[in-house]
Amino acid sequence: MTTNAAPLAEADNARTRPTTLLSLVARYAGLLMLAFVPLIVMWNDPYWINILAYAYLFAALAGAWNVIGGFGGQFSLGHGVFFAIGAYTVARFYLDLGVTPWLAVFPAAALATVAAVLISWPTFRLRGPFFAIATMAINEVCFALANYTERMTGGPRGILIPFRAGFSNMIFAERWKYALLTFGFMCIVVLITVLLRRSRLGHYLLAIREDEDASRAAGIDVLKVKLVGMAVSAALTGIGGGIFAMYVRVLDPPTLFTLPDIGVKFALISLIGGIGTIMGPVVGALLIVPVENFLRGTIGGEIPGGHLIVLGIVFVCASLFLKRGIVGAFTEILHRIRNRTRP
Protein backbone atom coordinates (compact mmCIF):
# COMPACT_ATOMS: atom_id res chain seq x y z
CA MET A 1 0.00 0.00 0.00
CA THR A 2 1.12 3.56 -0.50
CA THR A 3 2.47 5.43 2.47
CA ASN A 4 0.31 8.49 2.14
CA ALA A 5 -3.03 6.77 2.58
CA ALA A 6 -5.60 9.30 3.72
CA PRO A 7 -7.48 7.45 6.54
CA LEU A 8 -4.49 7.65 8.86
CA ALA A 9 -4.45 11.42 8.78
CA GLU A 10 -6.80 11.87 11.72
CA ALA A 11 -4.90 9.53 14.01
CA ASP A 12 -1.60 11.23 13.32
CA ASN A 13 -2.77 14.77 13.75
CA ALA A 14 -1.66 14.92 17.35
CA ARG A 15 1.91 14.12 16.42
CA THR A 16 2.36 17.05 14.07
CA ARG A 17 2.57 19.35 17.05
CA PRO A 18 5.94 19.46 18.81
CA THR A 19 6.31 18.30 22.40
CA THR A 20 6.58 21.47 24.44
CA LEU A 21 9.83 22.12 26.21
CA LEU A 22 8.05 22.21 29.54
CA SER A 23 6.56 18.74 29.20
CA LEU A 24 9.90 17.44 27.98
CA VAL A 25 11.73 18.89 30.97
CA ALA A 26 9.00 17.49 33.25
CA ARG A 27 9.51 14.03 31.76
CA TYR A 28 13.23 14.07 32.45
CA ALA A 29 12.73 15.62 35.88
CA GLY A 30 10.57 12.59 36.68
CA LEU A 31 13.33 10.22 35.58
CA LEU A 32 15.88 12.17 37.62
CA MET A 33 13.63 11.88 40.67
CA LEU A 34 13.91 8.10 40.28
CA ALA A 35 17.68 8.46 40.33
CA PHE A 36 17.28 10.51 43.52
CA VAL A 37 15.55 7.68 45.40
CA PRO A 38 18.75 5.79 46.34
CA LEU A 39 20.11 9.00 47.88
CA ILE A 40 17.08 9.25 50.16
CA VAL A 41 17.28 5.59 51.09
CA MET A 42 21.01 5.41 51.76
CA TRP A 43 21.85 8.92 52.92
CA ASN A 44 23.22 7.65 56.24
CA ASP A 45 25.21 4.73 54.87
CA PRO A 46 28.75 6.10 54.28
CA TYR A 47 29.87 3.20 52.09
CA TRP A 48 26.98 3.36 49.64
CA ILE A 49 26.59 7.12 49.71
CA ASN A 50 30.21 7.39 48.61
CA ILE A 51 29.56 5.12 45.65
CA LEU A 52 26.42 7.05 44.85
CA ALA A 53 28.23 10.39 44.86
CA TYR A 54 30.73 8.92 42.39
CA ALA A 55 27.95 7.49 40.26
CA TYR A 56 26.17 10.86 39.98
CA LEU A 57 29.42 12.65 39.21
CA PHE A 58 30.38 10.14 36.53
CA ALA A 59 26.86 10.27 35.13
CA ALA A 60 27.35 14.01 34.68
CA LEU A 61 30.83 13.57 33.22
CA ALA A 62 29.68 10.85 30.82
CA GLY A 63 26.78 13.15 29.91
CA ALA A 64 29.29 15.88 29.13
CA TRP A 65 31.32 13.47 27.01
CA ASN A 66 28.12 12.36 25.29
CA VAL A 67 27.62 15.87 23.84
CA ILE A 68 30.52 15.46 21.43
CA GLY A 69 31.10 11.69 21.69
CA GLY A 70 27.47 10.62 21.40
CA PHE A 71 25.61 13.40 19.61
CA GLY A 72 28.57 14.59 17.56
CA GLY A 73 29.94 11.08 16.99
CA GLN A 74 33.51 12.19 17.77
CA PHE A 75 34.80 9.37 19.93
CA SER A 76 37.18 11.32 22.14
CA LEU A 77 39.30 9.38 24.61
CA GLY A 78 41.10 12.54 25.70
CA HIS A 79 38.48 14.04 27.97
CA GLY A 80 40.76 13.25 30.91
CA VAL A 81 42.70 16.36 29.86
CA PHE A 82 39.68 18.65 30.35
CA PHE A 83 38.84 16.83 33.55
CA ALA A 84 42.36 17.36 34.92
CA ILE A 85 42.47 21.01 33.81
CA GLY A 86 39.23 21.57 35.70
CA ALA A 87 40.54 19.83 38.80
CA TYR A 88 43.90 21.65 38.84
CA THR A 89 42.30 25.02 38.09
CA VAL A 90 39.82 24.79 40.96
CA ALA A 91 42.54 23.56 43.32
CA ARG A 92 44.95 26.36 42.36
CA PHE A 93 42.30 29.09 42.54
CA TYR A 94 41.15 27.79 45.89
CA LEU A 95 44.59 27.26 47.46
CA ASP A 96 46.56 30.16 45.96
CA LEU A 97 43.93 32.86 45.51
CA GLY A 98 41.35 31.83 48.07
CA VAL A 99 38.60 31.74 45.48
CA THR A 100 35.63 29.62 46.49
CA PRO A 101 35.29 26.48 44.34
CA TRP A 102 31.72 27.53 43.53
CA LEU A 103 33.20 30.38 41.47
CA ALA A 104 36.46 28.67 40.52
CA VAL A 105 34.54 26.18 38.36
CA PHE A 106 33.99 29.00 35.85
CA PRO A 107 37.65 29.65 35.03
CA ALA A 108 38.02 25.84 35.12
CA ALA A 109 35.34 25.54 32.43
CA ALA A 110 36.91 28.37 30.44
CA LEU A 111 40.40 26.87 30.49
CA ALA A 112 39.05 23.44 29.59
CA THR A 113 37.27 25.04 26.62
CA VAL A 114 40.46 26.74 25.43
CA ALA A 115 42.31 23.43 25.68
CA ALA A 116 39.49 21.68 23.84
CA VAL A 117 39.66 24.06 20.89
CA LEU A 118 43.47 23.84 20.74
CA ILE A 119 43.37 20.03 20.81
CA SER A 120 40.42 19.62 18.50
CA TRP A 121 41.40 21.96 15.72
CA PRO A 122 44.10 19.63 14.38
CA THR A 123 42.56 16.32 15.49
CA PHE A 124 39.11 16.91 13.94
CA ARG A 125 40.75 16.33 10.58
CA LEU A 126 40.98 12.69 11.61
CA ARG A 127 37.99 10.42 11.44
CA GLY A 128 36.70 7.49 13.46
CA PRO A 129 39.34 5.38 15.21
CA PHE A 130 42.13 7.75 14.18
CA PHE A 131 40.51 10.59 16.08
CA ALA A 132 40.06 8.33 19.12
CA ILE A 133 43.72 7.25 19.02
CA ALA A 134 44.96 10.84 18.60
CA THR A 135 42.95 12.10 21.56
CA MET A 136 44.15 9.15 23.63
CA ALA A 137 47.74 10.05 22.76
CA ILE A 138 47.15 13.67 23.79
CA ASN A 139 45.83 12.41 27.14
CA GLU A 140 49.06 10.47 27.68
CA VAL A 141 51.20 13.47 26.69
CA CYS A 142 49.36 15.64 29.20
CA PHE A 143 49.79 12.89 31.81
CA ALA A 144 53.55 13.09 31.35
CA LEU A 145 53.52 16.90 31.32
CA ALA A 146 51.57 16.98 34.59
CA ASN A 147 54.38 15.00 36.21
CA TYR A 148 56.93 17.63 35.17
CA THR A 149 55.08 20.91 35.70
CA GLU A 150 55.56 20.68 39.43
CA ARG A 151 54.70 24.31 40.20
CA MET A 152 51.27 23.89 38.69
CA THR A 153 50.34 20.33 39.48
CA GLY A 154 52.61 19.41 42.37
CA GLY A 155 54.25 16.86 40.09
CA PRO A 156 54.00 13.17 40.98
CA ARG A 157 53.35 14.01 44.62
CA GLY A 158 50.25 15.92 43.61
CA ILE A 159 48.22 18.59 45.36
CA LEU A 160 46.69 18.08 48.76
CA ILE A 161 43.68 20.19 49.64
CA PRO A 162 43.40 20.42 53.42
CA PHE A 163 40.14 19.39 55.02
CA ARG A 164 38.35 22.55 56.11
CA ALA A 165 34.67 21.79 56.11
CA GLY A 166 32.35 24.60 55.10
CA PHE A 167 29.85 25.39 52.40
CA SER A 168 31.94 28.11 50.78
CA ASN A 169 34.91 25.70 50.61
CA MET A 170 32.75 23.01 48.96
CA ILE A 171 34.12 20.63 51.58
CA PHE A 172 31.66 18.72 53.71
CA ALA A 173 31.96 16.48 56.74
CA GLU A 174 28.78 14.61 55.78
CA ARG A 175 29.11 12.43 52.70
CA TRP A 176 25.48 12.84 51.66
CA LYS A 177 26.11 16.50 50.97
CA TYR A 178 28.63 15.51 48.31
CA ALA A 179 26.07 13.15 46.83
CA LEU A 180 23.57 16.00 46.76
CA LEU A 181 26.14 18.23 45.06
CA THR A 182 27.01 15.70 42.36
CA PHE A 183 23.31 14.91 41.90
CA GLY A 184 22.66 18.61 41.28
CA PHE A 185 25.49 18.76 38.76
CA MET A 186 24.11 15.69 37.02
CA CYS A 187 20.68 17.39 36.78
CA ILE A 188 22.28 20.47 35.22
CA VAL A 189 24.07 18.32 32.64
CA VAL A 190 20.85 16.45 31.82
CA LEU A 191 18.95 19.73 31.45
CA ILE A 192 21.64 21.10 29.12
CA THR A 193 21.47 17.89 27.08
CA VAL A 194 17.68 18.14 26.80
CA LEU A 195 17.96 21.72 25.55
CA LEU A 196 20.80 20.77 23.23
CA ARG A 197 18.89 17.84 21.73
CA ARG A 198 16.16 20.22 20.61
CA SER A 199 18.44 23.01 19.48
CA ARG A 200 19.95 23.77 16.13
CA LEU A 201 23.41 22.81 17.49
CA GLY A 202 22.05 19.45 18.66
CA HIS A 203 20.50 18.67 15.28
CA TYR A 204 23.68 19.73 13.51
CA LEU A 205 25.84 17.53 15.74
CA LEU A 206 23.61 14.53 15.05
CA ALA A 207 23.65 15.26 11.32
CA ILE A 208 27.45 15.39 11.34
CA ARG A 209 27.62 12.09 13.20
CA GLU A 210 25.37 10.49 10.59
CA ASP A 211 26.92 11.93 7.42
CA GLU A 212 29.38 14.78 7.00
CA ASP A 213 28.81 15.24 3.27
CA ALA A 214 25.06 15.41 3.68
CA SER A 215 25.60 17.90 6.52
CA ARG A 216 27.72 20.18 4.34
CA ALA A 217 25.09 20.00 1.63
CA ALA A 218 22.57 21.14 4.25
CA GLY A 219 24.61 24.28 4.87
CA ILE A 220 26.38 23.08 8.02
CA ASP A 221 29.88 24.34 8.79
CA VAL A 222 31.09 20.93 9.97
CA LEU A 223 34.36 21.98 11.64
CA LYS A 224 32.76 24.91 13.46
CA VAL A 225 29.86 22.82 14.79
CA LYS A 226 32.25 20.10 15.97
CA LEU A 227 34.38 22.72 17.75
CA VAL A 228 31.36 24.27 19.49
CA GLY A 229 30.14 20.81 20.52
CA MET A 230 33.59 19.96 21.85
CA ALA A 231 33.72 23.29 23.72
CA VAL A 232 30.39 22.63 25.47
CA SER A 233 31.51 19.11 26.31
CA ALA A 234 34.90 20.23 27.64
CA ALA A 235 33.45 23.08 29.70
CA LEU A 236 31.10 20.70 31.52
CA THR A 237 33.92 18.16 31.94
CA GLY A 238 36.10 20.90 33.45
CA ILE A 239 33.40 21.77 35.98
CA GLY A 240 33.09 18.07 36.83
CA GLY A 241 36.84 17.90 37.33
CA GLY A 242 36.62 20.84 39.74
CA ILE A 243 33.92 19.15 41.80
CA PHE A 244 35.96 15.95 41.78
CA ALA A 245 38.97 17.90 43.11
CA MET A 246 37.05 19.18 46.12
CA TYR A 247 35.63 15.72 46.72
CA VAL A 248 38.83 13.64 46.72
CA ARG A 249 41.13 16.51 47.81
CA VAL A 250 44.19 14.59 46.64
CA LEU A 251 45.14 15.33 43.06
CA ASP A 252 48.00 13.47 41.50
CA PRO A 253 48.44 12.72 37.79
CA PRO A 254 47.42 9.03 37.95
CA THR A 255 44.14 9.96 39.64
CA LEU A 256 43.27 12.45 36.89
CA PHE A 257 44.78 10.93 33.75
CA THR A 258 44.59 7.12 34.08
CA LEU A 259 42.67 6.16 30.96
CA PRO A 260 40.56 3.23 32.25
CA ASP A 261 39.51 5.29 35.28
CA ILE A 262 38.79 8.61 33.59
CA GLY A 263 39.01 9.30 29.84
CA VAL A 264 37.89 5.89 28.63
CA LYS A 265 35.37 5.46 31.41
CA PHE A 266 33.29 8.43 30.26
CA ALA A 267 32.95 6.74 26.89
CA LEU A 268 32.26 3.30 28.34
CA ILE A 269 29.52 4.55 30.66
CA SER A 270 27.82 6.24 27.70
CA LEU A 271 28.27 3.11 25.62
CA ILE A 272 26.61 0.87 28.20
CA GLY A 273 23.81 3.30 29.02
CA GLY A 274 23.12 4.38 25.46
CA ILE A 275 25.43 6.52 23.38
CA GLY A 276 23.79 9.64 21.97
CA THR A 277 20.75 9.36 24.24
CA ILE A 278 19.89 11.83 26.99
CA MET A 279 19.49 9.40 29.89
CA GLY A 280 22.09 6.87 28.68
CA PRO A 281 24.99 8.29 30.70
CA VAL A 282 22.84 8.43 33.86
CA VAL A 283 21.67 4.83 33.48
CA GLY A 284 25.18 3.68 32.57
CA ALA A 285 26.84 5.36 35.52
CA LEU A 286 24.26 4.21 38.08
CA LEU A 287 24.87 0.67 36.87
CA ILE A 288 28.61 0.59 36.17
CA VAL A 289 29.96 2.52 39.15
CA PRO A 290 28.32 0.30 41.84
CA VAL A 291 29.00 -2.90 39.87
CA GLU A 292 32.64 -1.94 39.47
CA ASN A 293 32.90 -1.26 43.21
CA PHE A 294 31.22 -4.54 44.02
CA LEU A 295 33.50 -6.50 41.69
CA ARG A 296 36.58 -4.75 43.04
CA GLY A 297 35.56 -5.81 46.54
CA THR A 298 34.72 -9.43 45.72
CA ILE A 299 36.70 -10.75 42.73
CA GLY A 300 39.37 -8.06 42.99
CA GLY A 301 39.93 -9.16 46.58
CA GLU A 302 40.57 -12.77 45.55
CA ILE A 303 42.52 -12.22 42.33
CA PRO A 304 44.20 -8.81 41.99
CA GLY A 305 42.80 -7.11 38.87
CA GLY A 306 40.18 -9.81 38.46
CA HIS A 307 37.37 -7.25 38.51
CA LEU A 308 38.87 -5.59 35.45
CA ILE A 309 38.64 -8.86 33.53
CA VAL A 310 34.95 -9.26 34.38
CA LEU A 311 34.31 -5.60 33.58
CA GLY A 312 36.13 -5.98 30.28
CA ILE A 313 33.92 -8.94 29.35
CA VAL A 314 30.82 -6.91 30.25
CA PHE A 315 31.97 -4.09 27.96
CA VAL A 316 32.76 -6.42 25.08
CA CYS A 317 29.34 -8.06 25.38
CA ALA A 318 27.63 -4.68 25.58
CA SER A 319 29.36 -3.39 22.47
CA LEU A 320 28.48 -6.60 20.62
CA PHE A 321 24.86 -7.03 21.65
CA LEU A 322 23.71 -3.66 22.98
CA LYS A 323 24.92 -1.35 20.24
CA ARG A 324 22.76 1.52 21.38
CA GLY A 325 23.02 0.74 25.05
CA ILE A 326 20.35 0.06 27.61
CA VAL A 327 18.38 3.20 26.81
CA GLY A 328 18.71 2.54 23.08
CA ALA A 329 17.36 -1.01 23.45
CA PHE A 330 14.53 0.25 25.63
CA THR A 331 13.43 2.97 23.19
CA GLU A 332 13.62 0.50 20.33
CA ILE A 333 11.17 -1.79 22.12
CA LEU A 334 8.87 1.20 22.74
CA HIS A 335 9.16 2.20 19.09
CA ARG A 336 8.25 -1.34 17.95
CA ILE A 337 5.20 -1.46 20.22
CA ARG A 338 4.03 1.94 19.02
CA ASN A 339 4.46 0.95 15.39
CA ARG A 340 2.64 -2.36 15.85
CA THR A 341 -0.57 -0.48 16.56
CA ARG A 342 -0.32 0.97 13.04
CA PRO A 343 -1.20 -1.05 9.92
Partner: protein, 242 residues
Amino acid sequence: MTSTPFLVVDNAVRRFVGLIAVDTVSFSMERGEILSMIGPNGAGKTTMFNLITGQLSLSDGAITFCGERIEELPPHIRAQRGLGRTFQIAKPLVALTARENVMVGAFLHNRGFAEAFERANSVLAEVGLDMRADALAGELTLSERRRLEIARALALDPKLILLDEVMAGLNATEVTQVIDLIQRLNARGLTFFVIEHNLKVVRAVSRRVIVLDHGVKIAEGTATEVLSDPTVIKAYVGKRAG
Protein backbone atom coordinates in the same frame (compact mmCIF):
# COMPACT_ATOMS: atom_id res chain seq x y z
CA MET B 1 18.73 33.60 -23.50
CA THR B 2 19.92 37.17 -22.86
CA SER B 3 18.32 37.49 -19.40
CA THR B 4 20.59 37.77 -16.34
CA PRO B 5 22.59 34.57 -16.00
CA PHE B 6 21.45 32.34 -13.14
CA LEU B 7 24.13 29.68 -13.19
CA VAL B 8 27.11 29.88 -15.52
CA VAL B 9 29.64 27.09 -15.74
CA ASP B 10 32.61 28.40 -17.68
CA ASN B 11 35.20 25.97 -19.03
CA ALA B 12 35.01 23.73 -16.00
CA VAL B 13 37.83 21.20 -15.73
CA ARG B 14 38.33 18.53 -13.11
CA ARG B 15 41.37 16.31 -13.28
CA PHE B 16 41.90 13.21 -11.21
CA VAL B 17 45.18 11.30 -11.32
CA GLY B 18 45.39 9.90 -14.83
CA LEU B 19 41.88 10.98 -15.77
CA ILE B 20 40.05 14.10 -16.81
CA ALA B 21 36.58 13.59 -15.38
CA VAL B 22 35.20 16.90 -16.61
CA ASP B 23 36.92 18.44 -19.62
CA THR B 24 36.32 22.15 -20.31
CA VAL B 25 32.55 22.03 -20.00
CA SER B 26 30.57 25.25 -20.36
CA PHE B 27 26.86 25.82 -20.08
CA SER B 28 24.44 28.15 -18.40
CA MET B 29 21.04 27.95 -16.78
CA GLU B 30 18.17 30.37 -16.54
CA ARG B 31 16.14 30.97 -13.43
CA GLY B 32 13.00 28.84 -13.37
CA GLU B 33 14.03 26.20 -15.89
CA ILE B 34 14.53 22.48 -15.54
CA LEU B 35 17.78 21.43 -17.15
CA SER B 36 18.62 17.76 -17.53
CA MET B 37 22.05 16.24 -17.89
CA ILE B 38 22.36 12.82 -19.45
CA GLY B 39 25.24 10.64 -20.51
CA PRO B 40 26.60 7.11 -20.18
CA ASN B 41 27.92 5.84 -16.86
CA GLY B 42 31.23 7.46 -15.99
CA ALA B 43 30.58 10.45 -18.24
CA GLY B 44 31.30 12.87 -15.39
CA LYS B 45 27.75 13.88 -14.50
CA THR B 46 28.04 13.42 -10.75
CA THR B 47 31.50 15.00 -10.82
CA MET B 48 29.89 18.02 -12.53
CA PHE B 49 27.32 18.18 -9.71
CA ASN B 50 30.03 17.93 -7.08
CA LEU B 51 31.90 20.79 -8.73
CA ILE B 52 28.82 23.00 -8.64
CA THR B 53 27.91 22.23 -5.02
CA GLY B 54 31.52 22.24 -3.82
CA GLN B 55 32.00 18.62 -2.76
CA LEU B 56 34.85 18.69 -5.27
CA SER B 57 36.94 21.70 -6.31
CA LEU B 58 37.58 22.76 -9.87
CA SER B 59 40.97 22.14 -11.45
CA ASP B 60 40.30 25.01 -13.84
CA GLY B 61 37.46 27.24 -14.96
CA ALA B 62 34.80 29.24 -13.15
CA ILE B 63 31.28 28.86 -11.80
CA THR B 64 29.03 31.88 -11.32
CA PHE B 65 25.78 31.58 -9.40
CA CYS B 66 23.42 34.57 -9.31
CA GLY B 67 26.23 36.87 -10.29
CA GLU B 68 28.67 35.59 -7.68
CA ARG B 69 31.77 33.52 -8.33
CA ILE B 70 31.33 30.43 -6.15
CA GLU B 71 34.03 27.99 -7.25
CA GLU B 72 36.26 28.86 -4.27
CA LEU B 73 33.49 28.68 -1.64
CA PRO B 74 33.20 25.64 0.65
CA PRO B 75 30.11 23.45 0.15
CA HIS B 76 28.20 24.68 3.22
CA ILE B 77 28.50 28.30 2.08
CA ARG B 78 27.22 27.33 -1.37
CA ALA B 79 24.26 25.64 0.32
CA GLN B 80 23.65 28.87 2.24
CA ARG B 81 23.76 30.79 -1.05
CA GLY B 82 20.86 28.70 -2.33
CA LEU B 83 22.25 25.48 -3.79
CA GLY B 84 20.38 22.39 -2.60
CA ARG B 85 21.24 18.89 -3.73
CA THR B 86 20.50 15.21 -3.38
CA PHE B 87 23.09 12.47 -3.57
CA GLN B 88 23.16 9.63 -6.08
CA ILE B 89 23.39 7.21 -3.19
CA ALA B 90 20.80 8.70 -0.84
CA LYS B 91 22.31 9.87 2.43
CA PRO B 92 19.48 9.69 4.93
CA LEU B 93 20.55 10.45 8.51
CA VAL B 94 19.37 6.99 9.51
CA ALA B 95 19.26 7.36 13.30
CA LEU B 96 17.06 10.47 13.03
CA THR B 97 13.37 10.56 12.25
CA ALA B 98 12.22 11.75 8.84
CA ARG B 99 11.13 15.03 10.40
CA GLU B 100 14.48 15.55 12.11
CA ASN B 101 16.22 14.93 8.79
CA VAL B 102 14.25 17.75 7.25
CA MET B 103 14.70 19.96 10.32
CA VAL B 104 18.46 19.73 9.81
CA GLY B 105 17.85 21.57 6.54
CA ALA B 106 15.17 23.85 7.97
CA PHE B 107 17.46 25.12 10.74
CA LEU B 108 19.43 27.01 8.09
CA HIS B 109 16.81 29.75 7.96
CA ASN B 110 14.85 28.99 11.16
CA ARG B 111 16.78 29.36 14.40
CA GLY B 112 14.11 28.14 16.80
CA PHE B 113 12.93 24.58 17.34
CA ALA B 114 9.24 25.33 16.80
CA GLU B 115 9.85 27.20 13.52
CA ALA B 116 12.11 24.47 12.16
CA PHE B 117 9.57 21.87 13.25
CA GLU B 118 6.74 23.65 11.43
CA ARG B 119 8.83 24.21 8.34
CA ALA B 120 9.82 20.53 8.29
CA ASN B 121 6.18 19.48 8.61
CA SER B 122 5.10 21.54 5.64
CA VAL B 123 8.00 20.30 3.50
CA LEU B 124 7.22 16.70 4.45
CA ALA B 125 3.61 17.26 3.43
CA GLU B 126 4.83 18.69 0.14
CA VAL B 127 6.78 15.54 -0.74
CA GLY B 128 4.06 13.23 0.62
CA LEU B 129 5.98 12.01 3.65
CA ASP B 130 3.86 13.63 6.37
CA MET B 131 2.54 10.23 7.46
CA ARG B 132 6.10 9.03 7.96
CA ALA B 133 7.39 12.06 9.87
CA ASP B 134 8.11 10.10 13.05
CA ALA B 135 9.60 7.05 11.36
CA LEU B 136 13.35 6.67 11.53
CA ALA B 137 14.97 7.48 8.21
CA GLY B 138 16.61 4.07 8.30
CA GLU B 139 13.17 2.44 8.18
CA LEU B 140 12.02 4.25 5.05
CA THR B 141 11.63 2.54 1.70
CA LEU B 142 13.87 3.50 -1.21
CA SER B 143 11.22 5.76 -2.69
CA GLU B 144 10.63 7.43 0.65
CA ARG B 145 14.36 7.94 1.14
CA ARG B 146 14.59 9.64 -2.23
CA ARG B 147 11.76 11.98 -1.36
CA LEU B 148 13.35 12.60 2.03
CA GLU B 149 16.53 13.71 0.26
CA ILE B 150 14.50 16.14 -1.80
CA ALA B 151 12.71 17.34 1.33
CA ARG B 152 15.96 18.03 3.19
CA ALA B 153 17.21 20.04 0.24
CA LEU B 154 13.87 21.87 -0.09
CA ALA B 155 13.96 22.86 3.58
CA LEU B 156 17.00 25.01 2.78
CA ASP B 157 14.74 27.25 0.69
CA PRO B 158 17.18 26.90 -2.20
CA LYS B 159 17.15 28.79 -5.48
CA LEU B 160 18.45 25.78 -7.39
CA ILE B 161 18.12 22.09 -6.61
CA LEU B 162 20.42 19.51 -8.13
CA LEU B 163 18.82 16.06 -8.30
CA ASP B 164 21.23 13.19 -8.85
CA GLU B 165 19.27 10.24 -10.28
CA VAL B 166 16.38 10.50 -7.86
CA MET B 167 14.32 8.14 -10.01
CA ALA B 168 16.79 5.25 -9.98
CA GLY B 169 15.19 2.11 -8.60
CA LEU B 170 11.68 3.56 -8.37
CA ASN B 171 8.67 1.88 -9.94
CA ALA B 172 6.44 3.59 -12.51
CA THR B 173 3.95 4.94 -9.97
CA GLU B 174 6.70 6.34 -7.79
CA VAL B 175 8.40 7.92 -10.81
CA THR B 176 5.14 9.67 -11.70
CA GLN B 177 4.86 10.96 -8.14
CA VAL B 178 8.34 12.45 -8.24
CA ILE B 179 7.77 13.98 -11.69
CA ASP B 180 4.61 15.60 -10.33
CA LEU B 181 6.55 16.92 -7.37
CA ILE B 182 9.28 18.42 -9.55
CA GLN B 183 6.75 20.05 -11.86
CA ARG B 184 4.72 21.42 -8.96
CA LEU B 185 7.80 22.97 -7.34
CA ASN B 186 9.02 24.28 -10.68
CA ALA B 187 5.68 25.95 -11.27
CA ARG B 188 6.35 27.88 -8.08
CA GLY B 189 9.63 29.16 -9.46
CA LEU B 190 12.20 26.65 -8.23
CA THR B 191 14.98 25.87 -10.71
CA PHE B 192 16.10 22.27 -11.21
CA PHE B 193 19.23 20.68 -12.57
CA VAL B 194 18.62 16.97 -12.99
CA ILE B 195 20.83 13.99 -13.72
CA GLU B 196 18.59 11.29 -15.14
CA HIS B 197 18.96 8.03 -16.96
CA ASN B 198 15.28 7.52 -17.60
CA LEU B 199 14.73 9.27 -20.94
CA LYS B 200 10.96 9.33 -20.47
CA VAL B 201 11.50 11.43 -17.37
CA VAL B 202 13.93 13.66 -19.25
CA ARG B 203 11.33 14.28 -21.97
CA ALA B 204 8.61 14.86 -19.40
CA VAL B 205 10.32 17.41 -17.20
CA SER B 206 12.96 19.30 -19.13
CA ARG B 207 12.91 21.76 -21.96
CA ARG B 208 16.65 21.67 -22.30
CA VAL B 209 19.14 18.82 -22.07
CA ILE B 210 22.91 18.66 -22.07
CA VAL B 211 24.82 15.48 -22.83
CA LEU B 212 28.18 14.52 -21.36
CA ASP B 213 30.41 11.75 -22.63
CA HIS B 214 33.90 11.06 -21.27
CA GLY B 215 33.78 14.39 -19.46
CA VAL B 216 33.05 16.38 -22.63
CA LYS B 217 29.79 18.12 -23.45
CA ILE B 218 28.79 16.53 -26.75
CA ALA B 219 25.32 18.00 -27.25
CA GLU B 220 22.91 20.60 -25.96
CA GLY B 221 19.35 21.37 -26.98
CA THR B 222 15.75 20.36 -26.50
CA ALA B 223 15.07 16.79 -25.41
CA THR B 224 13.87 15.80 -28.90
CA GLU B 225 16.82 17.41 -30.67
CA VAL B 226 19.38 15.87 -28.39
CA LEU B 227 17.88 12.40 -28.37
CA SER B 228 17.92 12.22 -32.16
CA ASP B 229 21.48 13.59 -32.41
CA PRO B 230 23.73 10.92 -34.01
CA THR B 231 26.65 11.76 -31.69
CA VAL B 232 24.44 11.17 -28.66
CA ILE B 233 23.09 7.91 -30.05
CA LYS B 234 26.64 6.80 -30.75
CA ALA B 235 27.74 7.61 -27.20
CA TYR B 236 24.87 5.63 -25.76
CA VAL B 237 24.61 2.56 -27.98
CA GLY B 238 27.93 2.56 -29.77
CA LYS B 239 28.49 2.55 -33.53
CA ARG B 240 25.71 1.33 -35.77
CA ALA B 241 26.72 -1.98 -37.29
CA GLY B 242 27.58 -1.90 -40.99
